[in-house]
Symmetry: C2
Subunit: 345 residues, 2 copies
């Protein structure tokens, strides 16, 4: 199998290198090919998602992404919108057709103390957020800023709702069988469609799933006040952006949060932390999320659950033995990666 | 001065009665007049915001609202959207022209243990969320659900942005002088307008204010991971709905969260908790938020800061001496209210 790696900006290259080393260890038959994306790609190719990168995706089996974007005051942020690093990321998602973003939020036993929540609330949290990734207000063409008025349009169609809801129901079948669909149906017509279509799909094809509907403002509260009440959470793009980042603080370090974006073509696998330009190039970054993303790549991208489980176990062990600095430990990127590799042997 | 009271549904009447008792104690010259809103108003008048209520607002100096809405499975939720309790609330906001919703989030000293956050994170939190309340995707007429497609439009104009930003800057001047404006300017044109206009207003008229801009997903993380970094947070309607509810969990009980909605006419003052139909009519509800809302009414609606401060101090004392059940204490609605009244004497 062929994996396209897109290390990107900031700490992206170092954590991607760690993930590739782990991938090679458990799947020696993979071929990797590196390409440019993000701010660095703009600097060298004048485009945050260069044509060469786009072409390379054609025969990929999966894509392993690092991070994109610069510091708050980076000159990249003053470029016209379509040339900014984020646009490269959005174009990549679109090119791959990845409509379902999966973000597992799990508090590792023994690491409850890292959570900003009280340990008794953090303990045992195990949520899967499924975010619609190609629709809604992010991509709709009906958008404008002109003089003193601006607007964007949050639009969904039934097929868009159904395809991502299917991923959520399918995931719930292998978990506790509970799905919470999140919307703002008391105010928005687009949410009324969302709620109706998710419910109809459940009633037609997933009768064994327990589905309930909650408002986005209420979920924002309850995911903090009582996170254990959630199993699978499915929602549209913008709500998913907010809620998945919110949920990501529960484990206490973004360094522990992988993600998978799935669609009809090759999947996209990436850590959710940012590019952390302040520590880039120093070998200090926690590569756990990138390595776990490689684990998700093995599971969802290559259909190798055994190898994925091996990676997950090795990361859990390494986290206990050699915690990185963001976790209050001492390990640098290399020490942690070596610990994972040793645990895999 | 004339106060219109709108007790509404669920526990609304009991907590509003408590707030009115307190109001009478510190401002014996107020006249109150009660009117219908919400589900109950639909039941008796066929409209969640009856014409009689609308007319009564004409000569009001301020409006004290209880809560609206029924249980999750209430028949009210199956009515056509424009007849549901929430529509009454939205119509009321619009009728009053209340474009700025102020929600103070304060962790009372000694009550840190109630927070879902670790006490060291909860301690000293003092945030004011200013939510735009009459614009954006909530009210824009460009909306539709038809067959298999639905959309809503998030639109803002410069005057809409400026008037609410002014409220945020004004509030910051009496606090720590720091404003965080929240948007999704890396994706949305409407956020680009928002950011540009907020910054321009600051540069023109509020040079002493320290203004920064953050993305909504990042704020959702940081308000949990590090709430003390925020002073005043200003944002558009939908983001404000989510973030203000999210921030509201920090103090640990919605029973402690008042709000004020201000505009060009009379202000609207209400507790942010829901109608809690499960405990309605039992005299168990915590009236603290309703009483604190009466405090905000005195401060912002009638311009009586001394009376407002008295109420705030009396509530703080009563909370320590007679905590209600939601706070792990024993006090019922009446006991708590009496404690506040005694503290005021
Ligand atoms: C960088 C940005 C465009 C992106 C998004 O909003 O989707 C990011 O926040 C994410 O969640 O991956
Ligand atoms: C009931 C609902 C329409 C309302 C809103 O979304 O504004 C509520 O959530 C609030 O925040 O006051």
């Amino acid at each position: 199998p062929k994996i396209i790696t897109l290390p990107g900006d900031g700490i992206g290259p170092e954590v991607t290198a760690a993930a590739v080393a782990v991938l090679r260890e458990v799947a020696p038959d993979v071929i990797t090919e590196e390409h440019a994306i993000g701010g660095g790609a703009f600097d060298t190719h004048g485009d945050p998602f260069p044509q060469r990168t786009r072409d390379a995706l054609q025969d990929a089996d999966a894509v392993l992404l690092g991070t994109v974007g610069g510091a708050h005051d980076s000159p990249w942020n003053r470029l016209p919108r379509h040339l900014r690093p984020e646009s490269g990321l959005l174009a990549l998602r679109k090119a791959l057709g990845c409509y379902a973003n999966l973000r597992p939020v799990r508090v590792q036993p023994g690491l409850e103390h890292l959570s900003p929540l009280k340990p008794e609330l953090a303990r045992g949290v195990d949520i899967l957020i499924v975010r619609e990734l190609l629709g809604g207000i992010y991509f709709d063409g009906d958008r404008r800023l002109e003089g003193h008025v601006a607007y964007n349009t949050m639009r969904y169609t039934t097929p868009e709702v159904e395809r991502v809801a299917k991923v959520a129901f399918w995931a719930a079948e292998q978990r506790k069988g509970r799905v919470t669909s999140v919307d703002k149906a008391n105010v928005l017509e687009v949410s009324e469609l969302w709620r109706r279509d998710v419910q109809a799909l459940r009633d037609r094809e997933y009768r064994s799933i327990h589905l309930n509907h909650e408002y986005v403002d209420s979920v924002a509260m309850l995911i903090v006040a009582n996170p254990s009440r959630y199993d699978v959470v499915v929602t549209e793009n913008l709500f998913g952006d907010i809620l998945s980042d919110l949920a990501a603080v529960i484990p206490g370090s973004l360094g522990l949060m992988p993600s998978a974006s799935l669609g009809d073509g090759p999947g996209l696998f990436e850590p959710i932390h940012g590019s952390a330009p302040d520590i880039a190039g120093q070998g200090m970054a926690n590569p756990a999320a990138a390595i776990q993303s490689a684990g998700m790549l093995l599971r969802h991208g290559l259909g190798r659950p055994d190898a994925a489980n091996q990676v997950d176990r090795a990361v859990a062990l390494a986290l206990r033995q050699h915690p990185t600095r963001d976790l209050g430990g001492q390990a640098d990127t290399q020490t942690f990666t070596q610990a994972v590799l040793r645990a895999l042997e």
